[in-house]
Amino acid sequence: MEIMKTSLQNNIRLTWQMAYVALIKNFLSAEDVLNYIEPSELSGLDADTISSLYSTAEESKEAFLKTVKKIIGDISEEDMRKCIEKWSLAYLKDIYLSDQSIREKLHQIANVWAMFDYPEDWKNIIYYMPVTGNEMTSELTLYRDFEEFVNRQDEIMTRE
């Protein structure tokens, strides 16, 4: 998957927690994090930590990850889950906002589904998941379901 510049510019506030999850999940590189981290997140750090961020970024991803971990401290499972959900929604929004054809978008959604370990509640928007013969489905109805899904998820996230 390509780096989500659209998300980073439009959909996501890249906090240190979000960056940490993105690094673990290989969504972003250390360089991406330093390029797209919220300025307010950087300004809250002391000079030594900032220096450490840049030096470990050049060293290795593991070293950089350790520095970020020091910044965020312990992260609860609940926070981790929320971050992952935010990332998944960001990816879906990217697809939604892209100028690809409906078919291409549906295939991208299936890819993102695999990327996030097949969340159960996405099944209804996956093009290849079987349906019974009676269901009136098509690529278009599937895409509308996807639109609804994204909007619904977005509302939930905003409320949280």
């Binding site: 695999a114 290849y128 998941m129 079987p130 098509s138």
Partner: protein
């Protein structure tokens, strides 16, 4: 006279022993004739029975025929090694035609540098190939590894032996019920991620797809596809291997589901 005969006999036998290695080579057929003559002379001088001598000669002839066969095989092997060396020297990576059934399988000893070539030929990053080989080799000293899941239909088989860098490669046509793994699909890019415990597994598993249960599924997009589910285990965990093959032969879904069952429904994770 007795001393002379004994000297000749000893000398003849010594020659025989010394030259035995050479004698076994058909290139030295003349020497064989010479030695037979010497043995006949010894037989006469020492009064060996004709029957016994005939037996001895038969044994020599038998050994000769066996050695001839062996040497012919060795010559073929030499020829093959020369061809391989020539091939290795060639910088341009040429795609090998798969050996058709019944044809003699081509065996090539692959050195470390050749691994790079093989990786290129089967469109795998070298590091991924090495990881696969090392993982398999650690578990099984001699293991069949192969197929070509991301590219053209699987035609390669690599049999491991010896050190990490030595493999015995056989070109063999392996029939997998798909044309290629779609590189843009999750099956394509996730299969290459060594950290992905569910999607990263050896292409050799695909060789067993013929034994999987095949279902036709109709997706929400109203397109029919083939779902293959195969009971198995991965890294010590039981479950199912699962593939979805489009009608054009592209694999778009390739995953291992821990604890999964053959149900005809993809992605049953719970």
């Amino acid at each position: 006279m007795t001393v002379r005969i004994a000297d000749v006999a000893v000398e003849a036998l010594r020659t025989f022993v010394n030259k035995a290695g050479v004698f076994l080579n058909p290139k030295y057929a003349e020497l064989k004739e010479e030695l037979i003559k010497i043995i006949e002379l010894i037989k006469e001088w020492l009064g060996i029975e004709k029957e016994g001598a005939a037996k001895g000669l038969k044994a020599v002839d038998k050994t000769f025929e066996e050695s001839k066969e062996l040497t012919e095989l060795e010559a073929k092997a030499d020829e093959s090694m020369v061809k391989d060396a020539e091939k290795d020297a060639n910088d341009e990576i040429r795609k090998e035609e798969p050996a058709s059934e019944g044809k003699e399988k081509e065996k090539v000893l692959i050195e470390a540098k050749v691994i790079t070539k093989v990786a290129q030929e089967i469109n795998l990053p070298r590091s991924t190939l090495m990881t696969e080989l090392n993982l398999l080799h650690a578990k099984h000293p001699s293991v069949t590894f192969g197929s070509k899941p991301w590219g053209e239909p699987g035609i390669y088989e690599i049999r491991m032996f010896g050190s990490d860098f030595s493999v015995d490669r056989e070109f063999k046509e392996i029939h997998v019920p798909y044309k290629r793994i779609d590189p843009k699909s999750s099956a394509g890019w996730k299969s290459l991620n060594v950290e992905d415990s569910k999607h990263f597994f050896s292409g050799i598993v695909d060789n067993y797809m013929q034994q999987a249960t095949k279902f036709t599924i109709t997706g929400a997009d109203k397109v029919n596809r083939f779902l293959y589910q195969l009971k198995g285990s991965l890294r010590g965990t039981d479950g199912i291997f699962e593939w979805i093959v489009e009608v054009n032969g592209d694999v778009t879904h390739r995953v291992f589901i821990p604890g999964g069952k053959v149900t005809g429904i993809p992605n049953k994770w719970k």
